[in-house]
Point group: D2
Chain length 467, copies 4
Amino acid sequence: MTALKLVGASAHKLWGGRFAGESAPELDALNRSIGVDFRLWPFDVKLSKAWAIALWSAGVVTVEESLALEHGLDRVADRLRAGAQPNASDEDVHTLIDRLLHEEVGDVASKLHTGRSRNDQVATATRLWSMDAVGVLDTAVRELQMVMLAHAESLSAASVLMPAYTHMQRAQPVSAAHWMLSHFWPLDRDRARLASAGRAAAVLPLGSGAVAGCAFPISRVLLQGSLGFAQLSLNSIDAVSDRDFVAELLFTLSMLAIHLSRVAEDLIIYGTSEFGFIQFGDSFTTGSSMMPQKRNPDALELARGSGGRLLGDLTALLATLKGLPSGYNKDLQDDKRALFDAVDTMMLVLPGVAGALSEITFRADKMKAALSSSMMATDLADYLVGKGTTFRDAHAAVGSLIRQSEETGVELHAMPYKTFKTAHASFGPDVFDALSAVASVERRETEGGTGPLAMKAQMKSAWASLA
Amino acid sequence: MTALKLVGASAHKLWGGRFAGESAPELDALNRSIGVDFRLWPFDVKLSKAWAIALWSAGVVTVEESLALEHGLDRVADRLRAGAQPNASDEDVHTLIDRLLHEEVGDVASKLHTGRSRNDQVATATRLWSMDAVGVLDTAVRELQMVMLAHAESLSAASVLMPAYTHMQRAQPVSAAHWMLSHFWPLDRDRARLASAGRAAAVLPLGSGAVAGCAFPISRVLLQGSLGFAQLSLNSIDAVSDRDFVAELLFTLSMLAIHLSRVAEDLIIYGTSEFGFIQFGDSFTTGSSMMPQKRNPDALELARGSGGRLLGDLTALLATLKGLPSGYNKDLQDDKRALFDAVDTMMLVLPGVAGALSEITFRADKMKAALSSSMMATDLADYLVGKGTTFRDAHAAVGSLIRQSEETGVELHAMPYKTFKTAHASFGPDVFDALSAVASVERRETEGGTGPLAMKAQMKSAWASLA
Amino acid sequence: MTALKLVGASAHKLWGGRFAGESAPELDALNRSIGVDFRLWPFDVKLSKAWAIALWSAGVVTVEESLALEHGLDRVADRLRAGAQPNASDEDVHTLIDRLLHEEVGDVASKLHTGRSRNDQVATATRLWSMDAVGVLDTAVRELQMVMLAHAESLSAASVLMPAYTHMQRAQPVSAAHWMLSHFWPLDRDRARLASAGRAAAVLPLGSGAVAGCAFPISRVLLQGSLGFAQLSLNSIDAVSDRDFVAELLFTLSMLAIHLSRVAEDLIIYGTSEFGFIQFGDSFTTGSSMMPQKRNPDALELARGSGGRLLGDLTALLATLKGLPSGYNKDLQDDKRALFDAVDTMMLVLPGVAGALSEITFRADKMKAALSSSMMATDLADYLVGKGTTFRDAHAAVGSLIRQSEETGVELHAMPYKTFKTAHASFGPDVFDALSAVASVERRETEGGTGPLAMKAQMKSAWASLA
Amino acid sequence: MTALKLVGASAHKLWGGRFAGESAPELDALNRSIGVDFRLWPFDVKLSKAWAIALWSAGVVTVEESLALEHGLDRVADRLRAGAQPNASDEDVHTLIDRLLHEEVGDVASKLHTGRSRNDQVATATRLWSMDAVGVLDTAVRELQMVMLAHAESLSAASVLMPAYTHMQRAQPVSAAHWMLSHFWPLDRDRARLASAGRAAAVLPLGSGAVAGCAFPISRVLLQGSLGFAQLSLNSIDAVSDRDFVAELLFTLSMLAIHLSRVAEDLIIYGTSEFGFIQFGDSFTTGSSMMPQKRNPDALELARGSGGRLLGDLTALLATLKGLPSGYNKDLQDDKRALFDAVDTMMLVLPGVAGALSEITFRADKMKAALSSSMMATDLADYLVGKGTTFRDAHAAVGSLIRQSEETGVELHAMPYKTFKTAHASFGPDVFDALSAVASVERRETEGGTGPLAMKAQMKSAWASLA
């Protein structure tokens, strides 16, 4: 752990005795993390209060000292809540709180450092912050899922069909609600991962000291309970250098950002003039300073871009951890920058996507118009399979019809019956039924399919997942 | 989905009807994935057999046809097990098996493609492969943990102490077993993540068709049971393009590789002539073509490097997924290259680290010699705290002693009592007890600390985690 | 450098004397790099021949020995060219060549190792390989540029216009050739970077020994000249661990892959049924095993995906290098896997994109139909600016017209003159001229603009860059 | 480009006419980039002044208007230099300057937007900023090189030797100056790449408009000259979406950070108590809040960690660019965050490393003590080669000596002559000369070697590179 500077302008150091020289301004500039970690203050105050009680129960401080520390920390929190700011000598949030606590309660503040180190302290505060962030993120993801589910309900009620694409080529007709929900389930997996990342964070390092454990009879079980952790860390060396929980959260948010980038890509493409499947609203688009006609889906583009940004945060942390020797190393300081950037970005992007999606208008007419009859080619092949043909022969026969359609410009449903008969003898006059998009959709009733009953079941599962 | 080429030298395509021209050799070279996905064959055979039964129960094929397909697939598996190799017209493992199946059972082989697509097929096969890999990986990690635990037992039995480092500077004395176990627990977290990645893989996509679901009354529940999946996918569009499970496994393996890189870094440094804490064995080190005296810890260096390689695999997949539109896109084909590379690498690295670690000799004498008395500075400060000094004053007094020690070159334990007394009036003649490394370690008995009882409890937890 | 195993089945080691035990099979499996580095053989042979001469000129071997080594190496090359394969005891390409050379010339082969190490040897071979690869890659990029330029010429000759997009929203009309060339220039920058990466590779490390330099009076200047390097490395420690040149090439190829991903994304979108701006050919697309109507742009999708893959290779190397101590470390062995994967991928993707692009048909009718008159909104505003209005007022007036157009469904060019006059008094009857896409394009004649003269100049620059 | 909001509290928008609704606060929060791009103001002012002149020379504004704009922009710059801050309605730096300019000169400010767009404007400003940053970075790298060179001079003057390591095992003795300079040359390559990144930035996009070029007869050549660019962009679509120059700078800085991480790793290891080769000073180390004896090399650890952070920035940008369609997309907005973070980090880390290195004390005694005679094993083998033995036999003989030394604990130089004679008949009584570290170093006089003359030449090259 690094220099703890104290109490006011002269910046006395807790470690003054051992050092002959002053630290260089270039080092202070590089080392100073208060710009990043200031936001940890509520959690540092919380764990410090718990520590004050633990010191009392371990017989290290008197009950009066413990109470003085607690009340002092409350007043520090009041000042910070009211806007108190770091000064130039506060290198990090722990130093800041220590300085303020000295101002509030005097020398007894120094007793709070007994048996703990900034190594276990910062790990604990970062974990508390993460546990809190997971809850906030879960709510924001859930709200986006609600918007999707509401759209799915409307689209389903109106029986809106659209093309499903593979390779961006029209593949098969599906219920538009089915497409909408295809973006719902990835978010469900994200929420499961968020919960898992929350559990990974909920392991208490406090009581691990700098690296070797605590020499005072602190009750870590008591600390765990009062601070809301699910488990105790089992090895003090690991405890002060374990950043797996940050990595898990960053990975979880990267996946979330990637899922949002895929929603965004679909919406941006469907919102082009050429597709026209959706119309953007006014509140989540912007105009152009040069081109008066523009309505740009900025929120969606920024969501798409956030996939890159989050991957950058994840990469930064993992590359930093790689090859580090045992115990705390200062390299770890940068974990918080990546973590906060990722969470902040997602907390801007999630409401942006939810808002943009909520004000989108679906154009059922445009979607329907895109259901060209060649998309029912698979159904046509299935029709022949139903008449006893192997799928391979069926595929070949339908392939030849498609080719004729392309060459003549006549859509399948507009071709005369005898063309079908020529392509394959098993085609009967009911072949035109197989070319209906509605019928195609209705045939796909296996679980997870786009048929009406399967959709109903899927929607029910979706509601259940939000309950 | 891409071209399915068939049966022997002339490479008939399932999709020949629609295409006028031949595909270009440059496309075939780029598209061909058999070099990567060949290893999926046992899983593709397995799911194909389950599909043959499902087609029968759905009334699509007769019981005789279903049996013919099953037995044919068994013979295909026999041939592949015996070394059958792809030919130039097999673009991927599915095409290869289709060709071989045609050779075994003739035209009925074509019926196997009814209602399924390579989109749901490859997703299913990759998930089966991943579920299998997770088990193999877990065993390999567990074996490394066993090596660590065995070392920890020996070191603990021999009461070996060593310096714990922070910032690579000597920090406090710890039990060497404590240090060893500090690398055990990260692996325990890795195993928990492996299990979670296994659960993420165990969601069945088969029955999702190309994108819209299956038009035949296939029982997906039956498929799920017979193939050993825990859940059904709930949306066919999502099912064919969801690669979250691959990403989770890659992330899990990246974390594992990073943990191994940290083990390796410690061992490489402790194995230098300057540290000398450990001696490498002969089986997992190599010599030099130029320098006859060298014994190089190659296995550990490659383990450290694998942290970078795995991060590359993870990055490759995530960047590929980012911004993809809905449904299957060919970009996804590359998921398997990253997945297989990561698993293969770990299956080489894990035994390498386990082997290298198992033949290491610990030099208790060198470790003990490194326990300079200045490492007991915290204990000295704690001593003063015990006499009623605030930690801050104690820190300052000890700091001044350290500075004198540095300037005079006299170690703390060799200083006269009066020097202590001058530094702080509360020092009594029992101060020298506080300078004992053994005593320092024994004082750290909080959970997760390095004290003997805490170590016993930690070791017990470690055994329990392997049970 | 690691174990050099020798001559045939019994695998004598050059370093046998110092080691009591055998190396473990798990280590051999992990360590063995011949599967990756085998392809370096032509370059290892080349540098070994140069070294044989250098040893002679330094007086270390006789002229007869030197000639024996040279001719022996030629025969080794012949055997490898004819298909000779590594055996189980060849851990890497250097060991393989050493074994073969012993088979050809007997004991004198051992003399070739005098004064060199695998550390400087592998660095030199990898640099030679990279210098060669740069040339091959440059040609492949250039061929793709030729395809682009040919299309640009045709599109320009036919005066084809299309919408330019920003935010995927129709922005302004441009020459289709202008769009095509917007993908040409990024490749030009890639070629400049390729040349720069080639120069970074062309620094000779041979003669640096294992780490401290060479103790024999080798002429490195002679080696440099005969091997075609531009410079000598200046510090032997740096020389054996410098992988900057690999990183530069990987970065260069990542940028190239990213540019190709952007070409691919445009083409995939323009090739949808909804856009219809282009039609894919048959040679670089594939069909579907399930959907007979599909024509999937696989080559383009794989090109897009390669952006992720290459970023993975780059990340793998950089994360491996980060934090490595001085001198050669075994972690560096993995540099070649990343390098070869990146180059191989690009050498598949570049012809794939060139082929796919070359057979694309442009649909000028569809592009023209997409030039809605609202895209001339900027021109309309510029018209008002020409009449003395500030751009801000002009923008507002045109914005209100656009809004009316959206609400009424009447396109701008179909609105009556009085609507314009109401929106802004400065509109004259010549306003309709400003709504012409052709006129809009013709007005943009600044350098780099889409006007006809500017296009002519741009095309001339493009040809010049390929000359 | 997106919404340009104007003049004061009511936030009139340039694009008000077309939009019915207000933009949502969630969008504004997500979209707002002023927190990041504020620092571009000097460059936005500069290019705006050049644009004002260009508009006059194109006949778009009068000379009086042009002068009014210029002087207004000067006053805007004065206000910003004096501390003027954005208000809540300023979404980005361009909007801010536009608002301030309106306050200074009134409505004529609107004329400045004629013919340009924020797309070409932001690209130009970012390039100007980058060109400036390259110069500042070069100076900072150069200063670190100076520190290295100064150390090398002292170490060389004092003929200090130390072990060179490969695989972190003692390899061969080298001049300590040689080791120091092994970190100098990577920085030299970084400076060459910085210069190249500067050239990549120096291509002017201004005059490209939003995407299609500029419709007014602006002289881009004039703009290029007055703004100090080396070239004109050749295609307006490419110009507004080309971020290659940012990627190049980020790659360059990643390499730099990786080089610094390697310097830092060496110094951290050499600064351990066990190595003891160097002693850290007081100004660039910190103490511990818990352990009074600690002196932690924070600056070096943060430098090592910065390798991860910069890789994250690079990854973020590349992953964002991958797969983007043509033309400007809002995803690009995030380029500046990555760029500024990378440059800022390096501008903190470079002085930190330079400072930490400059105050380091080298312990020649400790280095010398580490030169165990087994490190001369290669020299011993070379000795035998000099007597006509093949290197392979020599290696084996020396290997057996090393093994005896290990088993008996007797160092090579302390072994009796007959032991050598037994190992190989060619050993003569002068064998002990070959065991001298000084002699070993003196033999390595090839270019780039560690011998005294080679070092002198190397140092001369180093000075030349800084000249």
